[in-house]
């Protein structure tokens, strides 16, 4: 195995009495999309900001390409592209001015025009930042993170506030960026986004890593049962419910039968991994032909639930890092 391009070990960061990051460790391989997933306030942003050398850790080590970014944050600025949560540009700067400005900071910048084209911003090149839509601002923000031709790009909550269409477009874009060889560290509180984009991820809760792996590994690793939802024609619903109740009584693979909230015709059947094998013969025996049968897909939300014992509420505890905390800059450190 090659040396990980990013390595975080036992990272700890507190703001006064508040522990933002308790103990976080993970390693990112070159070329992958690595996710940091968790509810707001879990410590995701603090983790990547410390990783980028913007905040001083209270414990642990963070290395980017083998460089300790706590000791020498300037050493990785050229290879680390960062997209912060909030937009951070003048209202009156145009898209192309911003991109050209940032290009000037790097030794080996990308071609601003190519990036504009890649991010579908070419038609808006002369538009001022304040006049851009949320999606356009977000795409510009990604462009600015990529303008230095980074080896690693940190993208923090890049689809927050976007409509579903813009979100999908942004996801495709992230995949295109990865295809150019950039390692991506994706911070998100959207389970769906992590599941769709990440090769591997850590789930963080209350400053600790609660799970790590590929989305599929995490989901497949879940203990416990499956749920199958059966939909009957209206005239069959009553009989279907009776038959399924009988099935639940006599078959150990079937653990529960319950109507689905908000639906008169759907019934959820829960049980072991083999519940479907019991369900289908029982329906056949009763000659109940369902209009629809679907297995409920398990997701990272179930993984979160399994590891924390809580349902995933991404917006809960929306504390985040205090904004008045002094960030480290070269000037402030000297």
């Amino acid at each position: 195995m090659a040396e990980p391009i990013v390595e975080v070990r036992n990272l700890r960061k507190t703001y006064g009495p508040k522990v933002a990051v308790d103990d976080v460790s993970f390693a990112v391989e070159r070329g992958e999309i690595f996710g940091i997933l968790g509810p707001n306030g879990a410590g995701k942003t603090t983790t990547v900001e410390t990783l980028a050398g913007l905040r001083q850790a209270d414990g642990g080590t963070v290395r980017v390409r083998g460089v300790d970014t706590q000791r020498d944050p300037a050493a990785v600025r050229d290879v680390l592209g960062v997209q912060l949560q909030e937009a951070a540009l003048h209202d009156k700067i145009t898209v192309s001015e911003a991109l050209n400005l940032f290009a000037g900071f790097y030794a080996d910048p990308a071609d601003p025009d190519e990036l504009l084209a890649m991010l579908d911003l070419t038609p808006h090149a002369d538009r001022r930042f304040a006049k851009l839509s949320g999606g356009q601002k977000q795409r510009l923000s990604i462009a600015l993170a990529l303008i230095g031709n980074p080896e690693i790009a940190i993208l923090d909550e890049l689809t927050t506030g976007l409509d579903p269409q813009a979100r999908r477009t942004t996801w495709e874009l992230v995949e295109r960026v990865r295809a150019t060889g950039v390692t991506i560290l994706l911070v998100t509180h959207f389970m769906e986004e992590a599941e769709r984009l990440c090769d591997r991820l850590v789930i963080i809760d209350a400053g600790n890593v609660v799970a790590e792996g590929t989305p599929q590994e995490l989901i497949d690793g879940l203990e416990g049962g499956r749920t199958v939802v059966v939909r009957f024609a209206p005239q069959d619903v009553e009989r279907g419910r009776r038959e399924l109740a009988v099935l639940a009584d006599r078959d150990a693979e079937v653990e529960g039968v319950a109507p689905v909230d908000g639906s008169d015709t759907e019934i959820a059947v829960t049980g072991t991994r083999r519940v479907l094998f019991s369900l289908v013969p029982a329906l056949a025996a009763a000659d109940l032909v369902p209009d629809d049968v679907r297995t409920v897909t398990r997701s990272l939300e179930d993984v979160f639930l399994a590891h924390t014992g809580r349902a995933y509420l991404p917006g809960a505890d929306d504390a985040g890092a205090p904004t008045d905390t002094t960030l480290i800059t070269e000037g402030a450190r000297s």
């Binding site: 050229d78 000037g104 070269e330």
Partner: protein, 273 residues
């Protein structure tokens, strides 16, 4: 693990020691964007001229040499009132940019996270501060040059008695007022707060520098207090240099003291986020 399985990713060679690379472009871009704000252009460049012309032509008698209103031994004897207004207007020109404009600019940066965003790039965030100091200082010179030119054309200005004192007082006044502006810039977080705080500092300073009571008509108590403020000291020192004799030592010391205290303090207190 065998050697064959070890893959070493290509490492691009990057020159280190960056930190100011792209500063020229930063300065140009910041200046362009700053000039898009019409308030900056008006208050920074045009305001001193507009004020001089407005007062000079709007108030009767401003262009008549004073022979009856001041004693013959006064430094202002035979000088037009509008000419006595010049030192105050020049001090105001500096103060407008240093105290009204600069803190709002930096508070906006802090509020929007511009400084933070910059610190994720190889460019040092200090660069944007330097860029705005350059922009504001340059604008001050442009505004003052315009005011002097127009004043010369419209009213004919008296040649300063001691040009060196006037220039020295102007430059030292600039240092002390920009130091005060930087102190406000260092700590104010929100643009609205910056506006409020800057106004609270700016208008009393204008009053003490004689914007409403320039030169010969300034009450003695205003002069006594004003000489200890950076803007008032600058105006009084330029007054002496322009129309009088001797070296305005007290005023120079006052301006130097403000600078020596405030400048390091503002560097120390500067908040990046």
């Amino acid at each position: 693990m065998t050697a064959a399985t070890v893959t070493t990713a290509p490492t691009r060679v990057r020159p280190s020691g960056a930190g100011w690379r792209g500063f020229g472009r930063l300065l140009r871009t910041e200046a362009t964007v700053w000039l898009r704000d019409s308030a900056s252009v008006f208050f920074g460049i045009l305001f001193p001229t507009v004020l001089l012309v407005g007062v000079g032509f709007g108030i009767p008698g401003m262009r008549e040499p004073m022979t009856d209103d001041v004693p013959p031994d006064s430094i202002w004897y035979g000088v037009t009132p509008i000419a006595t207004y010049l030192p105050t207007v020049l001090a105001m020109a500096v103060g407008t940019l240093a105290i009204l404009s600069l803190p709002v600019t930096f508070a906006t940066f802090r509020d929007k996270g511009v400084l933070r965003r910059l610190s994720t790039t190889p460019m040092r965030p200090q660069a944007i501060i330097v860029a705005h100091l350059v922009i504001n200082v340059a604008t001050t010179f442009v505004g003052v040059a315009l005011a002097l030119t127009v004043a010369q054309l419209a009213f004919g200005i008296v040649r300063p008695e001691q040009l060196g004192v006037v220039v020295g007082a102007f430059l030292l006044g600039m240092l002390s007022l920009f130091s005060l502006g930087m102190l406000l810039s260092a700590v104010v977080n929100k643009p609205s707060t910056a506006n409020a705080v800057a106004s609270l500092v700016y208008f009393p300073l204008l009053f003490l520098a004689g914007l409403w009571t320039p030169g010969p008509i300034m009450p003695d108590v205003v002069r006594q207090i004003g000489q200890f403020t950076p803007m008032g000291a600058a105006a009084q020192a330029m007054d002496t240099g322009w129309f009088g004799e001797g070296f305005p030592m007290l005023q120079f010391v006052v301006m130097a003291a403000w600078t020596v205290v405030l400048l390091p303090l503002s560097v120390r207190l500067f908040r990046w986020a």
